[in-house]
Each structure stands twice: as structure tokens, then as C-alpha cells.
């Protein structure tokens, strides 16, 4: 089995790191070798965040090379566009359609492109956009966007849905288990 490469992108504070942890724990629980890497420090203060998860029989490097990702999960449309070159030909993109204005846009130095989704569709023929915020709110908490995003790729991973669901249960705080499981299911149904 070749190494399965996942890139997860978003903006600091969106829960990218938690989603990465769930995927990495799932790989481990599914008996695979796994390496996961993430960005810390200054970027976490509202900046772009990117995380890599690599799983397979044997994995040495924690870094995904551009052009080799099987799966790109983006928590924000513009971030999806920014990291689209990580996907390998035919690779799958799932992105949250809810945009966050970059600070340069907020400051009026640039304009948030209003055709981001068209640009994504033109560049990637295996893309799925979901309103993760709406699904998360429906599940009971707008902050469960990360679990919705994990849900959207539930069937694309080399680990069974049961294993992933079990990991979500384990990593959730007691009060959040039900919401997270609903968010996961909501994402999977999207």
C-alpha cells in the first residue's frame, strides 16, 4: 500500500489541529504507521494553518510534498485555493464554503475574490464544497466545524468508519460527544 497523504488547511482557531489529531489517531487505531505535522507559534494567531497527515505501512517523513496529496481538506475556500497544488492529479478536495476574510482583505488592501468556488471548480474536478458551519450548528455547536470536515472524508480514508467514530468518541469531552458524533454524521451525509 502506498502512503496515503492528507493535507488539512485553515485559519488559526478553526480546529485544524484537532481534526488532524483525529485522523492520525484513527490511522494508529487502524493499525497503520502514521506521521502528522502541524504549524505552531505565531501563525496560530489567526494566520494560515496547514497540517499534514501521512499513513501507510511505513512512513518516515511527516511532510506532504506538493502534487502528492490524496486528500485536501480545507476549512476555508481561499485556503483551499492556496493549497490546491498539494493535490495529486485526481486527488480529492473537500472544503468548507464559509469564508473568513484575510486580514489584508479586511484592511481593504485586497479584495476577497468572489469567484473562489468557480476557480476551485476550474482547477479541480474532484471537489466538494459544504457549508460546514450550518451543519455544525444543526449538530448543536458551531464550533464542531472540525468534526463536520472529518465527516466529509469518512469514506475516503484507508481506515474504517467504525475506527474513526470510536476515536472521535475518545477525544471528545464528555459533554461534546453527542454533538461531535452528529457533526461527524452530518459531514458524512453532505
Amino acid at each position: 500500500m502506498p502512503i496515503f497523504n492528507i493535507v488539512i488547511a485553515g485559519v488559526g482557531g478553526q480546529g485544524v489541529l484537532m481534526a488532524s489529531k483525529v485522523l492520525a489517531e484513527s490511522a494508529l487505531a487502524g493499525g497503520l504507521d502514521v506521521k502528522q505535522n502541524e504549524v505552531h507559534g505565531m501563525a496560530q494567531r489567526g494566520g494560515s494553518v496547514i497540517s499534514f497527515v501521512r499513513m501507510g505501512e511505513k512512513v518516515a517523513s511527516p511532510v506532504v510534498m506538493p502534487g502528492t496529496a490524496d486528500l485536501l481538506i480545507s476549512f476555508e475556500p481561499l485556503e483551499a485555493l492556496r493549497y490546491l497544488h498539494y493535490l495529486k492529479p485526481g486527488g480529492r478536495l473537500v472544503y468548507n464554503q464559509v469564508s473568513i476574510n484575510p486580514s489584508t482583505v479586511a484592511a481593504g488592501l485586497a479584495v476577497y475574490p468572489d469567484d473562489v468556488e468557480e476557480q476551485i471548480a476550474a482547477a479541480c474536478d474532484n471537489a466538494l464544497g459544504v457549508d460546514a458551519l450550518a451543519i455544525a450548528r444543526e449538530a448543536g455547536n458551531g464550533k464542531a466545524v472540525n468534526m463536520v470536515m472529518v465527516g466529509t472524508v469518512l469514506k475516503d480514508l484507508p481506515v474504517t468508519e467504525e475506527v474513526i467514530t470510536e476515536v472521535v468518541k475518545q477525544v471528545s469531552k464528555e459533554k461534546g460527544v453527542e454533538v461531535n458524533l452528529r457533526a461527524l454524521a452530518g459531514g458524512a451525509a453532505a
Binding site: 507559534g41 489567526g46 486580514s103
Partner: protein, 607 residues
């Protein structure tokens, strides 16, 4: 013994390794990417078999010296820091090479090639070459953890301080790691006095230096630390790949993907310094061409002195930045005469970081900029570096530099006559770390500057480690608190005021008073403590009032709140040309309200 496998971050794996190896004194100063190492020691301390002292020291030099003396007693100790922290600890670090240690001592220095979160990408391995200290370069979190007990054993065998150098990609990568049972060493503290060594005067140093060099010759030949060869099938004779650290991990996967695994001789170097001279001789004899992949400086390459080296010195390998897998792919393709990988599109710049909504630093910076539009603003290392975005930070150099830079600016301008208002901003943790001597110097040099101590009661950038004025030890125990105000007064500062920057009118009044003071006849250093807890602390959020803040129709679209205040919750609605507040990001602090020149930002009490 039952082994347990768990997913750990590199830093957690190292911290866990320290506990398992029987380390009894652990001291660190936080800094990305090293911070979580000591945090993991704190989190796993209950599993230690013996007493364990853990401290967030005031700076790296202090952390090193605490660990050093503990090792003199025969116990195992560690000092942890980021790469630029080693510059702060350089003085004791260099002498320790000569004097040595007793109990195992490790210095864990996390490098940041890239750099991702640092002021440079210096290579600790080169520092170790200059200091004559053995350094280990792990290629994975699991390997980093495995090297910890080995390093302690060798530190004791050779009576040397050893350095473990993980890089950002090791520190912040997670993988499956095996847990072991912590050792019980049963060592009582036993300092054997020997002034000829522990207080060595110049007369005693030549023999100590000779002993160091002899030890280095020996440790270079340590069987457990020799370059690990993965033999090729001979299809590419007289060609070798030499790699260390994370670059080696990238290379292993890349060779696999290219179908070249086991086709070409590959050496993983575990200990880049001191490199075994026999290894270098063997390479010179058996190989005509050698590709060396290492981060960040050519440390192995320099020692190899192989005429057929392809690497950083001939420019085949980039001399700066991370050796990411795609870069290694390109270099490898050129070296092995493979088809070149396709050119990658230039990565678009990501979203820039900014101070959090409600951050008290933003309010302080805005006021400073408003009061002194022509001021000079030296600042320092921490979250508040992001005051850059508000035009209230002009220089950022290294821990504590801002106060001395403020003095330098002042002296250079003042000798010409007029001087601009110089407002220095320094965080509370940075003030304790390296600001106090600089403040004393500013006072005795009679510099007329304003020093604003941004006191948010935490080390915020690295995730909230305690600061000395909280009176909290690393493990949460209560300890004696050391307040900022008496330190400032004792440094000879006569103008000292304290103000919450959320109170904009008072804060700005005090800034103007400070400016009058420094320009008065008896003027000198004025200190203003800007005091408001970090907004990332839930207790701070809970304790302060929260409003429903919104923009009303009288907004004239002047953009001042968006451009000059730069809160992530504020943005321009370009269609209607008015400002908007994003309720998902706004925390309701209301600090933006007085920023609006037409009073179009309003608040309502929320329940």
C-alpha cells in the same frame, strides 16, 4: 514489562523520554518550537519514580546553570530551549565543554529551519562544533525519544554535556511512540568538591581542554552513534547519500516513491559532531561522489572534506530555508541524473497573523501610535511583535533588545539636538528575561525614553507559561511572586505609572505625561505598565464586561477602525462602503468604540 504505544508529538515524546531516563532536574525557558518539551515533563511528572524538580526559568542561561549544578551532584538533568535561547546560554554552555559534568546532562535545543517562528535559522550543530559539544540529530519523534536515555548514558560515561537537536518538523510531528517504564536510579545528591575543575582557573584549563579533545576523539567512535548504512545493490557504485535529521526521513520516503530504495548507499548520520574521522576516510576511499543533505548549515559537509561532495558549499543544495521533500527531490534528481520533477507553482502568501480580538496590546499600540505619530518604536519578541500591523513597532531584534535599542536611538538623535519620542514596548516575560539589566543601563545612561511594559500576566506567544509576578511554579504550585513595580523603582526609575490600556483616555494622558517627563529638566526613563490579562485566558474573558458591539448607519466609511486599529473582527463592506463587525469573531470588549471619529461604533449590554 508491558509496552504501550501512543501517538505523541515529538516534543511530548522527548519530555516523556526525560522522565523514563530518570531525569530529576528539568529547567527551560519557553520558545517555539521547544516549548512543549518541558510542558510534557510537567504533564507526565506523576509517572516519575523519583523526585523531580521542574522549572520555567527566567531565561535560558539560568535554566542551563540550574541543570548544570544539579548534574555536579550526580543526578540527571536537562536544560531545554530554542536555538536562539542557546545564544543567551552561550557563556555557561561554552565553559561546560571544558569542565564537563557528573550526572548525565542534556541540553535540548530545538532549531527552526525555515524559519517558522524565530528571528533566524541558525544551526545548533554548528554552534556545538564551535563549543566542542557532541550533538545528536534525530530523524523522527520516536528516534528523538530513543536518543534521550542513550545521551544520558554517554554524558555520564564521558562526563560531557550532550546536545539533542530536534528541528521544528520533529518537535511538532506526531507519530506512534513506545512508552517505557521510568527508571529508578536511586542517586542521592553528592557534590564532590574539586576546585581545580569546578572553579578551574586558567592554569587548570589546558589539561581540561586536552581531556575534552581526547573525549571527543573517543565519543566520535561510539558504536551506538555511528552513521547507519542502508546498503545499495551496487547498481550505482561509488555514489553515496549522506543525510541527517528530518532531511533523512524525507529522503527515505522519496527513494521509496522513486523505486530507488536499496539501490544506492545511504548513510544516516546520528551525531553530526564530532564526526568519526574513520567515517570520513571511508567515504573518501569508497565513493567518488557524495550528496550531503542536512539542515541548516554544512556541518557534516565541512567535517567530511570530501573532494566529491555535492551539497551546500557548491550550491547544489539550497543554503537557506528548510530542506522540504520537493527540494530534496530536485537535488536528488540532479545528483542521480533522474528526470527533474515538475516546477511547482509559487505558494501564495498565507493569511498574516494578527493580535487576537480584544487583545490589550492592540489598545496600547493604537494609543501609542495616536499620541506619537512621529515616534520611534523599538519592540521585542512575543505576541506584541504583531504591533507591526498597527505601525507601532519599528524594530524587533532579540529578547530584551528593545530597551537598549531605545537608548541607542536616543543617544544618536540627542547628540544632534532634537530627539523624537522613543516608545519602547516589552512584554512582561521578556522584561524579566533580559529587560532588567537594560532598564538599569537606560537609567544610568540618562536616556530619555518611554518604556511601556505590556503586562498580560503570561508568556502568551508560547501558550501561556507562568511569569514571575504570578507566584506560580511550573507544576502549578504557589511560590513567592516577584512584582514588576518594585523592580522598576529599584532600577532608579522615578516616573512609574500603571494603567489598563482598555481605559484609552487615561492611558493616553499618561503617555503624554511620560513624554513631558522625559523632556523635563530632571527627565530620564519613564515607565508605563500597561496591565490587562491575556484575552486567551478564559478567566480574563469571564471577568471583563462584554457588550454587543455594532456599527450604525452614521459610519462614513473612513476606514480608520479597519486600517489603524486592525481588529480581526472588523472589516469593510466594500459594497456599502461602511465598516462591519463580525459577531463570530468579536468578543465584545468595546476597545474599538473610541477609535471611531464619528461615534458610529456603539455597544449594548449583553446578558
Amino acid at each position: 514489562m508491558k509496552q504501550q504505544i501512543e501517538l505523541l508529538m515529538g516534543n511530548e515524546a522527548i519530555g516523556r523520554g526525560l522522565i523514563e531516563a530518570g531525569c530529576q532536574i528539568a529547567a527551560a525557558y519557553p520558545g517555539t518550537p521547544s516549548t512543549e518539551i518541558l510542558q510534557a515533563v510537567i504533564d507526565h511528572r506523576e509517572q516519575a519514580e523519583e523526585p523531580l524538580h521542574i522549572e520555567w526559568s527566567v531565561n535560558e542561561k539560568i535554566a542551563f546553570e540550574v541543570a548544570l549544578a544539579a548534574s555536579y551532584t550526580g543526578k540527571r538533568s536537562v536544560a531545554v530551549m530554542k536555538q536562539v535561547g542557546l545564544n543567551v546560554a552561550a557563556d555557561p554552555f561554552m565553559r561546560t565543554a571544558y569542565l564537563g559534568v557528573k550526572g548525565g546532562m542534556l541540553t535540548i535545543v530545538a532549531d527552526d529551519p525555515g524559519p517558522h517562528s524565530s528571528q533566524n535559522e541558525q544551526d545548533t550543530r554548528l554552534f556545538c562544533l564551535q563549543a566542542r559539544v557532541p550533538v545528536l540529530d534525530p530523524a523522527s519523534p520516536a528516534e528523538a525519544k530513543e536518543l534521550v536515555p542513550l545521551a544520558f548514558e554517554l554524558s555520564e560515561k564521558y562526563e560531557m554535556n550532550l546536545v539533542l537537536r530536534p528541528t521544528t518538523r520533529i518537535c511538532h510531528s506526531r507519530q506512534n511512540v513506545e512508552r517505557q517504564k521510568p527508571l529508578k536510579l536511586e542517586r542521592g545528591a553528592n557534590f564532590e568538591k574539586d576546585p581545580t575543575r569546578w572553579a578551574a582557573t586558567p592554569a587548570f584549563l589546558p589539561p581540561l581542554h586536552r581531556r575534552l579533545n581526547a573525549g571527543l576523539e573517543e565519543i566520535a567512535r561510539e558504536p551506538g552513534l555511528q552513521p547507519r548504512l542502508t546498503k545499495g545493490d551496487g547498481s550505482r557504485p561509488r555514489v553515496a547519500l549522506v543525510a541527517s535529521g528530518i532531511a533523512c526521513a524525507h529522503l527515505v520516503d522519496l527513494l521509496d516513491e522513486l523505486g530507488l530504495s536499496g539501490r544506492v548507499d545511504l548513510f544516516q548520520v546520528l551525531m553530526p559532531y564530532p564526526l568519526n574521522p574513520e567515517f570520513s576516510a571511508r567515504l573518501r576511499q569508497d565513493y567518488s561522489r557524495v550528496l550531503v543533505l542536512e539542515e541548516t548549515y554544512p556541518v557534516i559537509e565541512l567535517q567530511l572534506a570530501h573532494p566529491g561532495t555535492v551539497g551546500k558549499q557548491d550550491g547544489a543544495v539550497p543554503r537557506e530555508g528548510e530542506l522540504a521533500p520537493d527540494i530534496i527531490h530536485r537535488v536528488l534528481a540532479a545528483f542521480l541524473d533522474l528526470p527533474a520533477p515538475p516546477e511547482l507553482p509559487v505558494q501564495k502568501r498565507g493569511q498574516r497573523p494578527s493580535l487576537c480580538p480584544g487583545c490589550p496590546h492592540r489598545a496600547a499600540f493604537y494609543s501609542i501610535r495616536q499620541c506619537f505619530p512621529k515616534g520611534i518604536f523599538p519592540s521585542d519578541i512575543g505576541c506584541y511583535t504583531l504591533g507591526l500591523n498597527l505601525g507601532a513597532v519599528d524594530t524587533v531584534h532579540c529578547m530584551g533588545a528593545c530597551i537598549s535599542q531605545g537608548v541607542g536611538f536616543y543617544q544618536a538623535y540627542a547628540q544632534d539636538g532634537e530627539f523624537p519620542t522613543i516608545v519602547v514596548t516589552i512584554g512582561d516575560s521578556t522584561f524579566f528575561h533580559a529587560g532588567i539589566p537594560a532598564l538599569i543601563n537606560a537609567v544610568i545612561q540618562q536616556a530619555r525614553i518611554i518604556v511601556v511594559i505590556l503586562d498580560n500576566a503570561t508568556t502568551a506567544m508560547t501558550g501561556g507559561q507562568p511569569v514571575p509576578h504570578l507566584g506560580l511554579a511550573a507544576d502549578g504550585r504557589k511560590t513567592r511572586a516577584v512584582a514588576i513595580e518594585p523592580l522598576v523603582r529599584a532600577s532608579g526609575v522615578d516616573f512609574l505609572e500603571i494603567c489598563d490600556p482598555y481605559d484609552k483616555p487615561r492611558f493616553e494622558k499618561l503617555l503624554r505625561q511620560a513624554d513631558n517627563y522625559i523632556r523635563g529638566e530632571q527627565g530620564g526613563v519613564a515607565v508605563l505598565i500597561s496591565r490587562h490579562g491575556c484575552i486567551m485566558d478564559p478567566a480574563v474573558r469571564k471577568a471583563q464586561p462584554s457588550w454587543q458591539v455594532s456599527v450604525i448607519e452614521s459610519c462614513v466609511g473612513c476606514r480608520r477602525c479597519v486600517d489603524a486599529f486592525e481588529c480581526p473582527a472588523l472589516s469593510m463592506d466594500s459594497e456599502q462602503n461602511i465598516a462591519r463587525i463580525n459577531p463570530d469573531r468579536c468578543i465584545g470588549c468595546g476597545t474599538c468604540i473610541p477609535v471611531c471619529p464619528v461615534d458610529a461604533i456603539v455597544r449594548e449590554e449583553t446578558s
